[in-house]
């Protein structure tokens, strides 16, 4: 119990003093996971919508593949991204292994199937005739897709939350492709793991609490938007 109390005390202290290291780790976490989520949104919403609207043989198989991908184990993603980014790997020329960019890449790979799957489900849950109604209102195909995505925005926000929540709390891939380099690619989760193995449980708990708070506030903000967007 002492340990938890000490941890909370330390977390409070680190927070109120704006400890520069903790601050930079927190900001990097936000930056990496935020960018990864953004990338996954761009890809996931496009692919998810396209899949929901298109009819082609093999669609069921592809959908089941994406649904499986929604639960991709981060370490597996980390492993493959690492192998790809090795100097000797197919993407080695990028020279981004052990950089935040590599972490963004790995996290985007983790989040994209989640966003795609949720988009797919959200668009498919809309009334089937809605598409026809939008077209009948004179929409071009692009306008139709855009309006459909707007109509599905509430479940899509849930997709944003799921994607962001998935990557910000993920450690396996980040540590593998980022390397947990101090002041460079160290994020809240990898720092927590390291501080735990260093025996600095108070700092680890503090970082854990900051991670929880951050996840909580981001979800709070998104939930606020969701509630506000739902018209009176």
């Amino acid at each position: 119990m002492d340990l938890i109390f000490e941890g909370v005390k330390k977390a409070f202290w680190l927070l109120v003093t704006f400890d520069p290291e903790v601050l930079s780790i927190t900001l990097l976490s936000l930056r990496v996971s935020g960018t990864a989520t953004l990338i996954s949104l761009i890809i996931g919403i496009s692919v998810g919508t396209a899949l929901a609207l298109a009819e082609f043989p093999g669609k069921k198989f592809l959908v089941s593949l994406i649904n499986t991908g929604m639960g991709l184990p981060p370490v597996v993603v980390g492993l493959f991204v690492t192998i790809f980014l090795w100097r000797s790997g197919p993407l080695g020329f990028l020279g981004i292994l052990y950089t935040p960019a590599a972490m963004i890449l790995a996290q985007a790979v983790i989040a994209t199937p989640i966003v795609t799957g949720i988009t797919l489900a959200a668009i498919q849950a809309l009334p089937k005739n809605l598409r026809l109604q939008i077209l009948a209102l004179g929409a071009t195909r692009f306008q139709m897709v855009w309006i459909l995505v707007k109509e599905a925005k509430l479940p899509l926000l849930a997709g944003v939350m799921a994607g962001f929540g998935g990557v910000i709390s993920e450690v396996g891939a980040s540590i593998m492709v980022g390397g947990n380099i101090k002041g460079y690619s160290r994020v809240l989760t990898t720092a927590t793991v390291m501080e735990t193995s260093r025996g600095n449980f108070d700092v680890a708990i503090a970082l854990g609490i900051i991670l929880l708070l951050m996840a909580y506030f981001i979800n709070l903000i998104l939930t606020q938007i969701q509630q506000r967007e739902r018209p009176r």
């Binding site: 000797s88 380099i181 193995s197």
Partner: protein, 277 residues
């Protein structure tokens, strides 16, 4: 809807991540013990300030560190698995293997010491653990510590691999120590990590001070002849730095204030055989 776009654009401006690297970087593959002890956190900023290089420290076991070097995925190694290191250099993967520092391994266990190995020589201590069937926790991760432990078992003429009381954690040094502490088991650890974590552990030092327990760290530059992409200049700069007088002084004083005794002993320029005497 317009606000949403504004937020996205602002986000991109403020948080636009640095892709790739602005500075020349070196990948240092090292053991968890050097990172977990905090030594690198002190040394690397000084090196970076002096040379302008950016060091990416990948803290893994010695086995993986050597494997990364062998593939040319790292530029310079700081490891403690002498037998494998020699092979690594002999096969032409590494050059300029130089001694950096040492500390020693110790055999730790619960204060109750059920196998009664206090004061025993290392090989004897392991025999006692085996005959008492007391829990022993092995790193099991091909790290320098794991190799050392295997060598010790071999020296005592035992093969514990399939025994019930022998468990492999597959974790780093710090985590293996806390597992041993929680499960009241014996384990082998480097003194540096043990001292750094001592306050959180319920483990005591039971066997130490034998030449066989020496834990020697070498710096090795990955051979650029084999892997052209390797940052040879950076690797050499780092290796030269860590055996420089300045770095050696820091190593000597590291941890004295916090733990009462140094965690590592600087050895630059010495021969392996001279150590422990």
């Amino acid at each position: 809807m317009k606000n949403t776009w504004l937020i996205i654009i602002l986000y991109l401006i403020i948080f636009s991540p640095t892709l790739g690297e602005a500075r020349k970087s070196i990948i240092l593959a090292t053991t968890t013990s050097t990172q977990d002890s905090g030594l690198l956190d002190v040394l690397i900023p000084i090196f970076e300030k002096k040379t302008g290089y950016f060091v990416k420290t990948i803290a893994v076991g010695s086995g993986l560190a050597l494997a990364l070097g062998q593939k040319g995925e790292a530029d310079v190694l700081l490891v403690h698995s002498p037998a494998d290191e020699k092979k690594f250099v002999a096969e032409g993967y590494g050059i300029n293997r130089r001694i950096v520092m040492h500390n020693d391994f110790i055999i730790l266990g619960p204060a109750e010491d059920p196998a009664k190995l206090k004061g025993a020589k290392p090989a004897e201590a392991l025999k006692k653990i085996a005959s008492a069937g007391s829990l022993f926790l092995s790193r099991g991760d091909n790290s320098g510590t794991h190799f050392k432990e295997k060598a010790l078992w071999k020296a005592s003429g035992l093969n514990p691999e399939k025994e019930k009381w022998y468990q492999q954690t597959g974790l780093g040094m710090g985590q293996t120590l806390s597992v041993a502490s929680e499960k009241k088991g014996y384990t082998l650890a480097d003194r540096g990590t043990y001292l750094a974590l001592k306050k959180t552990l319920h483990l005591v030092n039971l066997a130490e001070g034998d030449a066989i327990l020496l834990n020697i760290y070498h710096v090795i530059e990955v051979n650029p002849a084999k892997w052209p992409k390797v940052n040879a200049a950076g690797a050499k700069a780092f290796a030269d730095f860590i055996i420089s007088k300045e770095a050696q002084e820091i190593i000597k004083g590291f941890g004295v204030n916090k733990f009462g005794s140094p965690l590592f002993f600087p050895d630059a320029g010495k021969k392996e055989k001279e150590l422990g005497k």
